[in-house]
Symmetry: C2
Subunit: 113 residues, 2 copies
DNA sequence: CAAAGATACATAAGAAACAGATGCATTGAA
DNA sequence: TTCAATGCATCTGTTTCTTATGTATCTTTG
C-alpha cells in the first residue's frame, strides 16, 4: 500500500528536517531511499518533489550544503544549520500536536508501542 | 495556536467525510463551526476551501444534498451516500495507518488517552 | 563487453488544493 | 440601525506536488 499523495502533502519538509536531525549529513538520493526503507515502501519521495524542497530549505537558511565527489560522481550533502535545528523541533512538535488533534477528531486508535 | 496550512492540506476531505459519518446531515457553515469547536480553534476551515471540497464530494457521488429553508435562509444539507460511507472508512483507515507511520518516522509520542 | 538498471543531480510544465478576498443576502443583537 | 453572525458561493493567486524529461556515472549481469 502506498499512501495517497494528498495525505503526504505538507509533511515532506518535516520528514526531511527530521532525517537530517538524526543523521547530521545526508544527500538527496540517500534521503529518498531512507524514507522508502523506514516506511516499508509506503512513502516514496519523488525526485521532482525532493530537490525543489531541499533548495527551498537552503534558500531559507535551514540547511547548508557541501558538494563532494565519490570518484567522478557528485554528491550534495545537506546538514541542518542552527536555525534549521530549532525549526525542526518546532515542526515536529507541531506535527505531534496536529496528530493528537486528528486522533481526537477522527476517533482513531493508534498503536501504543 | 493554529496549525500551518501546509499541515492541514490533504486531510480536509477526510475530516468532512468523518463528520458526516457521525452526524448524518450537516450544512457547510455548520461543518466549519463544528471543526473549530472540536479542535479548540486549532483547525479553522475557510469557506474558500470547504465549498469547493463539498462540491467535489458531490460530483464524485460520495455525498447527496438537500436544500432546505429556515425562514428565508437557505441551508444545503449534505449526507453520505452508500459509496461515501465505504469511502469514509477507507480514508479514515488510511489516515490511521499513515499516522502510525509518521509516529515511527518522526519518533513522536502521542497521547494515549 | 554491452546493455540494463541503479545511482545522482536537476528542471520544467501542469495539476491539485488551499488561502484570501470578495460578493450577496438574511438574521439577530446592541 | 448598524454591526456581527449566519449561510451560500466564486475567483485569483500561490504553494506544493506529479509526471516527464534530461544528463551523467557506476555496477551488475548475461
Amino acid at each position: 500500500m502506498i499512501y495517497s499523495s494528498e495525505l503526504i502533502k505538507g509533511t515532506l519538509k518535516t520528514i526531511v528536517l527530521k532525517l537530517l536531525e538524526d543523521n547530521s549529513r545526508m544527500y538527496g538520493y540517500e534521503i529518498t531511499q531512507r524514507v522508502k526503507e523506514l516506511t516499508f515502501d509506503k512513502i516514496q519521495i519523488t525526485e521532482g518533489a525532493l530537490y525543489p524542497t531541499l533548495h527551498v530549505l537552503e534558500e531559507d537558511g535551514l540547511v547548508t550544503t557541501e558538494l563532494e565527489y565519490n570518484g567522478k560522481r557528485a554528491r550534495k550533502y545537506y546538514s541542518l544549520s542552527p536555525e534549521g535545528k530549532s525549526k525542526t523541533k518546532e515542526r515536529v512538535d507541531e506535527l505531534a500536536d496536529f496528530m493528537n488533534t486528528m486522533k481526537f477528531l477522527l476517533d482513531i486508535k493508534t498503536q501504543t508501542t
